[in-house]
Every structure is written in structure tokens, then in C-alpha cells.
């Protein structure tokens, strides 16, 4: 695993020592190379995990997330070039350093074996993200957004630290490789109920669960494009990944402790989808759609069946790519009109037809059109929740309908109709932007040919 981590760390000296006209080229190229290395991890020969050392391992759950993380760094760098073009050189280098630091922590988080090291790195991802949101965001609300982001996550995760340490006292080791063989049922007691809560709340806040999702629209809207991309695509998946890892230790309390969270998620996905229909701010719409998709993942993880785990993993990867692409598209609008209001930039299909094709593809994958991997994820989750309880099909069906409604609403408002008169002098799409969208879309389309690699460890 060092073959990925050390090159990522070395991206930092690369940015600081590059010449002024080479920083973007150097960092984008080398981060693309690193993502190619990580692709080799997708080859998981047996049902077991690939163990690289005592500290790092990769298994069919973490490998796709790792590939997604490393794939996104060059995309983030490409997306940030425009809005940083007017900044002084040192600030550009600082921004790239923050992104690289975040990338390093994320790679280490997804491959950590020891759960406390996972925790430390999980918390460590907060610091660069906070700096990116607060320092380089565009409106005054970014300060509030950073505070909400930091404190919501920390309040959830400090009990997790205490819970992990007490589990370590009970079992002697928190090394994930050992725990999967040791697994014993937790005795039934009040303190174990609190232990369950302490373990899960950190990830629930991160996902986010419907009642604790207040930080997400703020953070996503106020962050600059790279911040939004990494938040939507990866940081939310940290919560899902953590939940998938830690529920193996938490039986049998999960069978009854999961009910409140299942209810919240099932209701919450409908609520947040419906809010999307009333949003005026484009980025806010995409942020709430993220909450809705992640609620599906929470439902899947808490049901704990093999099909639902497959659906959760597929949905995480698919949503990561789709949501990041939608944010890039929204950012291409923002860079031209400097406004996130949807109705201010209508009828773009007439002016930017190729971008309209990307908008169409992104909206179609967002509403889980067959045969994309979004559909595979959602379908598996719907099927497994139907087998868990027949009534959930009503809510799931309603959610799918409302998701289709708001995706098409977003598409039609921004692309179709007559264009507003003040945007007829916007710049045409840059090749960089088209390349960005293509690089988001190509993995998504290719994966629908062989979704086996993202279906996780229960395939």
C-alpha cells in the first residue's frame, strides 16, 4: 500500500517545487498515474482480503472506494483550475497541498486495519476539508458551514473513540483482520446499547442520517468545487464504509437498535427528495439529493443481508461519480454566471450543446436509469428492503419517482426552454470541462458492463 501512499505524499513537494506554469500539469499527471496504480487492487483473487502489511489491507469493499478516491484527485485538480487562476501562486500551491493531504488521509483511512488508526485518520480528514471550505469558499456563510461541519462530525465521533477503546479492552485487539475471525455476540445489556449507539452515531452523522444532515447542505453549497466534489463523492462514503466495517462487531443489538435509524432513513429519503423539488439553488439541490441517496445506503447497511450489502457498495461508488459530476456541471454554470440560482441560467442547451449532453447523462444516471450502476445499487437495495418488510416498497417506489422528478426538473430548468437574455455572451465550454465530464462518465458507463468489481465482499 505504500506504493500508493508515498507517491501521494510526494505530490506535496511536487507542487511546492514546480514552476509557475507547470503546477497544474505536474500534479494532474502524477495523480492520474497514482490512480492507475490503485486500479491493480481491484483484482481480488479470493474471498479473503489482500493483506499488504499489519497496518494496511484492501478487500473487495475498500478497493473500489480507494480507486474512486485516487481517481477523483486529478478530476478535482482539473475542476479547480479556473477559480484559482487569479490567486497568487502560493495560495494555489496551498490549495493543492490541502487536496493532497486530504487524499493521503483518505487513502490511509480506506486501507487501515486497526480501527483506532481508522478513527484517527477519519478525524484527520476533517482538518483539510475544513480549511478548503472556510478559506476558499465564496460567500460569508462559509464560516458557519465550516463550524457546522466540524462540530457535527466531532460530536458524533468522540463517543466512537471511547467505544473503540472500550472494545479494545474487551477483546484485546482492534485489528480488523483478527476481528473477522473472532466474532462473538455482544451480551445484551444497557451499556452495550450505548456502545452500539456510540459506534454508529459517528457514521450516521457523516452519511448523513436524515435528522443530523443539517451540516451537509451548508458545507456542500459553500465549498469550492474541489471541496464539494470530495465531500459528496468520498467523505460521505467514509460513513458508509465505517458502518459496513463496524456492524460486523455489533451483533445482535443491530436487529432491534436499527429500527429508529431505519425509520429515519426511510422517511428522510422521501423528505429530502421532496425538498429537492423546491430548491432554487442548484448546488443545494444536488446536496439534498446526496442526502437522499445516502439514506438508501443507510437502509441497506442496517438491514444486513448479502444483497443489501452489494447494493450499498454499488450505490456508494455510483453516487460518488454521479454526484461529483453534477457538482462539476453546476460549477461550470457558476463560473459563467457567478450565481447558483437555477432559473438565472436557463436554456443552456442552445448555447452549450455538448455540455447539455453531459447534463443529460448525469441526470439520467442520477435517476438510476438502467443499465447504469446507479440502478444496480438502488435495485438491490429496494429488493432487499422489500424482503425485509413488504411495506417499504411504497416508500422506495415513491422515492424513485421523486428522484426522477427532481432530476428531470433540474435538467429541464437548466437546459431546455429559451435561454435568458443575459447569458448569451458566456464563454463556450472549455476542453478541460468536457474532459472532466468525460472522465466522470467513462468509469460510470464502463462499470455498467462489469459491475462485479463494485459489488463488494458479499458477491
Amino acid at each position: 500500500m505504500l506504493k500508493i501512499i508515498i507517491p501521494t505524499i510526494m505530490l506535496m513537494p511536487l507542487t511546492w517545487l514546480s514552476k509557475k506554469n507547470m503546477i497544474w500539469i505536474n500534479t494532474t499527471t502524477y495523480s492520474l498515474l497514482i490512480s492507475l496504480i490503485s486500479l491493480s487492487l481491484l483484482n481480488q483473487p479470493s474471498n479473503n482480503s489482500l493483506n499488504f502489511s499489519l497496518m494496511f489491507f484492501s478487500d473487495p469493499l475498500s478497493a473500489p472506494l480507494l480507486v474512486l478516491t485516487t481517481w477523483l484527485l486529478p478530476l478535482m485538480l482539473m475542476a479547480s483550475q479556473h477559480h484559482l487562476s487569479k490567486e497568487p501562486l502560493i495560495r494555489k500551491k496551498l490549495y493543492i497541498t490541502m487536496l493532497t493531504m486530504l487524499q493521503t488521509f483518505l487513502i490511509m483511512t480506506f486501507t487501515a486495519t486497526e480501527l483506532i488508526s481508522f478513527y484517527i485518520l477519519f478525524e484527520a480528514t476533517l482538518v483539510p476539508t475544513l480549511i478548503i471550505i472556510t478559506r476558499w469558499g465564496n460567500q460569508t456563510e462559509r464560516l458557519n458551514a465550516g463550524l457546522y461541519f466540524l462540530f457535527y462530525t466531532l460530536m458524533g465521533s468522540l463517543p466512537l473513540l471511547v467505544a473503540l477503546i472500550s472494545i479494545q479492552n474487551l477483546t484485546g485487539s482492534l485489528n480488523f483482520l483478527l476481528i473477522q475471525y473472532w466474532n462473538q455476540a455482544l451480551p445484551d445489556s444497557w451499556s452495550n446499547i450505548f456502545l452500539w449507539l456510540a459506534c454508529m452515531m459517528a457514521f450516521m452523522v457523516k452519511m448523513p442520517l436524515y435528522g443530523l444532515h443539517l451540516w451537509l447542505p451548508k458545507a456542500h453549497v459553500e465549498a469550492p468545487i474541489a471541496g464539494s466534489m470530495v465531500l459528496a463523492a468520498i467523505l460521505l462514503k467514509l460513513g458508509g464504509y465505517g458502518m459496513l466495517r463496524i456492524t460486523t462487531m455489533l451483533n445482535p443489538q443491530t436487529s432491534f437498535m436499527a429500527y429508529p435509524f431505519l425509520m429515519l432513513s426511510l422517511w428522510g429519503m422521501i423528505m429530502t427528495s421532496s425538498i429537492c423539488l423546491r430548491q432554487t439553488d442548484l448546488k443545494s439541490l444536488i446536496a439534498y439529493s446526496s442526502v437522499s441517496h445516502m439514506a438508501l445506503v443507510i437502509v441497506a447497511v442496517l438491514i444486513q443481508t448479502p444483497w443489501s450489502y452489494m447494493g450499498a457498495t454499488a450505490l456508494m461508488i455510483a453516487h460518488g461519480l454521479t454526484s461529483s459530476m453534477l457538482f462539476c456541471l453546476a460549477n461550470s454554470n457558476y463560473e459563467r454566471t457567478h450565481s447558483r440560482t437555477m432559473i438565472l441560467a436557463r436554456g443552456l442547451q442552445t448555447l452549450l450543446p455538448l455540455m447539455a449532453a453531459w447534463w443529460l447523462l448525469a441526470s439520467l444516471t442520477n435517476l438510476a436509469l438502467p443499465p447504469s450502476i446507479n440502478l444496480i445499487g438502488e435495485l438491490f437495495v429496494v429488493m432487499s428492503s422489500f424482503s425485509w418488510s413488504n411495506i417499504t416498497i411504497i416508500l422506495m417506489g415513491a422515492n424513485i419517482t421523486i428522484t426522477a422528478l427532481y432530476s428531470l426538473y433540474m435538467l429541464i430548468t437548466t437546459q431546455r426552454g429559451k435561454y435568458t437574455h443575459h447569458i448569451n455572451n458566456i464563454k463556450p465550454s472549455f476542453t478541460r470541462e468536457n474532459a472532466l465530464m468525460a472522465l466522470h462518465m467513462t468509469p460510470l458507463l464502463l462499470l455498467s458492463l462489469n459491475p462485479k468489481i463494485i459489488l463488494g465482499f458479499t458477491y
Partner: protein, 346 residues
Amino acid sequence: MNPLIFTTILMTVLLGTMIVMMSSHWLMIWIGFEMNLLAIIPILMKKYNPRTMEASTKYFLTQATASMLLMMAIIINLMHSGQWTITKVFNPTASIIMTSALAMKLGLTPFHFWVPEVTQGISLTSGLILLTWQKLAPMSILYQISPSINLNILLTMAVLSILVGGWGGLNQTQLRKIMAYSSIAHMGWMTAVLVYSPTLTMLNMLIYIMMTLTMFMLFIHSSSTTTLSLSHTWNKTPLTTTLILITLLSMGGLPPLSGFMPKWMIIQELTKNSSIILPTLMAIMALLNLYFYMRLTYSTSLTMFPSTNNMKMKWQFETKRITLLPPLIVMSSLLLPLTPMLSILD
């Protein structure tokens, strides 16, 4: 102040603390404390104005009271054990009185009221000595009597200190008061784990001194005593803003910086001893501290705070030379991977 006299007084302060830390006779410890107290008063009053007079008087009165209480505890101990050697304290009453006396010297709740007022009234350098060096002597005595301290009283004082340190600092804009409340909260963390593992107290003290030293050096470097004047640093020395950001996040206990190490180790030690609610409560209260550090970083490093146009062209006629700042900054932020080193403190 005349350099010769200043040197003598500073040496007396050092000597006083050394005597406290290295004696085995209770009377010598009391003498060390008194020597320390008397010598630090002129240092606190380096600038002669009513504010420093008031601060020094408050400091003198509280510390003298604490020394008298300490003397009383020593005498009671003498009565019950018949000897002056420092081992554990033999009588519960003496133990409680001694713990209260040392809490007064450290600034633990409910004896914390002097810390913000004294720290605010003196200059930044004197405040630095007050909040770091002066904590060493009482903490070393607490370390030595730790087997006999009443757990209930100590834990109550510790948790209350963390609460007071968190809530008290929320309404402050003066940097010295912020550092004072931060010191109260950190003292709370240190004493909470004293009975379980004194090594961790020493670790926390070490990391706390490094971080506080760094913060004060950065404040002295930008000659700022209020949040507003600190917010001008992006104009004068932009690098300082990054350093302030890193150090403040480290003080707030965010991984992966070294300020997380004592908190993690303390939570681990407390959990191993089957107290679960206490470390959870302490950890969540530490978030209050993080809030006002974040507010400082917001006005300093994460925004370009509005300032007048004159600020942008300000010349620095005399660059303040700050000793040891780079190593301190490195140590106060990057020490987390060296956590196993705490075994050297045993």
C-alpha cells in the same frame, strides 16, 4: 529593569521550582514555593502600572493563601506520621487540604478565578512564564502524592475545570484571557488522569507547555493581545497565520496533530479503568475549547479580515527575534506518530 537584577530574579524563580521538584523534605518544598512566589512578583510587574499591580497583588494573595494551606497540610501530616519525608500523605484531612492548596496554585476550579484576571493584567512574556513554568512545581508535588489523593475531590475539580475552561473562554476576545481559560481546561485534563496514571499527566503537561509556548511566541511575534490585532497578521506576516492555525487546531485536540495525543491517551487510560461516561463527557466539553480556538482561526487565518488600507503597507522596523519557534511549532503539531515515546516519561 537592570539586566543583572532581572537575571538574579529569574534565576530565583528557576531555583524555587527546582527546589520544589527535587526536595525530599516538606519544609524545603514550602520554602521553594515561597521563593518562587516572591521572585516572580517583580517579573509580573515588569511594566509599572496599576493594572499589573492589581494582577500581581491578586496572584500574591492567592498563592500565599495556597502556601499557607500547604503548610497546614504538611504540619497535619507531620503530626500523624512523625516525619518530614515526602511520601504519600498519611491523613485524609491533610490530603484534602494539600490537594486544595495545590489546586489553588494550579488554577483548578473552584479556585480558578485568579487565572484570567492575573493573566490579563500582565505582559505577554510574563503571562507565558505564569502559565507554563509556574505549573511545573505544583504538578510535581501532585505527582508525588498521587497515591493518596482523594479521587472524588480530584475528579470533581478536574471535570469542573474542563467545564469552566470551556464555557469561560467563549465570551473572550482578549488573547491572554483565552489562554488563561485554555490553561484551566488543560489543567483539568491533567489532573483527571493523575490517580490512574501519573505518566500521562506528565505527557499532557509536556505537550501543553509546548503548545502554550508556541502560542505565546506567535502572539509576541505579532505583538497582539486582542483578537482584532491578531487578525492583522495576514497583512504583516502571512506565514504566521498558518502557524497560528496549526497550533490552535493542535490545542483543540484535533487529530492528526500532537494535541490529540494526550487526550487520546487520557481517554484510553480512563476507559481501561472502567469509567466510560467521564471521558465521554470530558471529550465533548473539550469541543467548547475547540469552538473558541476556531473563532480565533476564523478571524486570523481562514479569512482575510477587513483592515484599513494603512495596514497593507506597514513596515516592520524591528523584526522581533523569536527563539526556538520552528522546533516548537514542529513539536506542537507533528508529534502524534511518536506516541509510543511516552514510555520514556515513566
